[in-house]
Symmetry: C2
Subunit: 96 residues, 2 copies
Amino acid sequence: MEISELQTTLRRTYYQRDAKRGGDATFRWMTEEVGELAKALRHGDHDELVHEFSDVLAWLASLANLTGVDLEEAAARYAHGCPKCGHAPCVCDFAR
Amino acid sequence: MEISELQTTLRRTYYQRDAKRGGDATFRWMTEEVGELAKALRHGDHDELVHEFSDVLAWLASLANLTGVDLEEAAARYAHGCPKCGHAPCVCDFAR
């Protein structure tokens, strides 16, 4: 699936609700899902883990839709390797 | 860009570092980026916002690589609308 397809589908699915709720509440929901991802990392099975990654992605896209961010543009920064050193594998000489 | 392409590129770029650092520290980094996203939402310009969405996406993919999650599989859950009600737009009758 293209990143843009996912973002478009999520716009079609949730934008009306997202806009009514607003950016801060949408950010809060996304953070709640990050917490659920933490829980799944701690003790979830693989299906639960996929489910939580799924939700974090979805809420990230909802937030991107609300704030006018094109996730393809965001992803493009990493399209050719590390945006800092330009290499894949990254050869940055600092802790990451 | 396909979601799988992004995940593969991030694997090629960072997996060695990610594996050395481990899942918990990678989760911590991702959460740090979520915080930077919050800051950019508060006062960043558009480019900063794109940058932070970019970093959250990248760290989410790093974490997916470390935990054996296929982000295409994760994204597929939202491919046809709301995974709960099955519709786009969502017609779920509860607060979201």
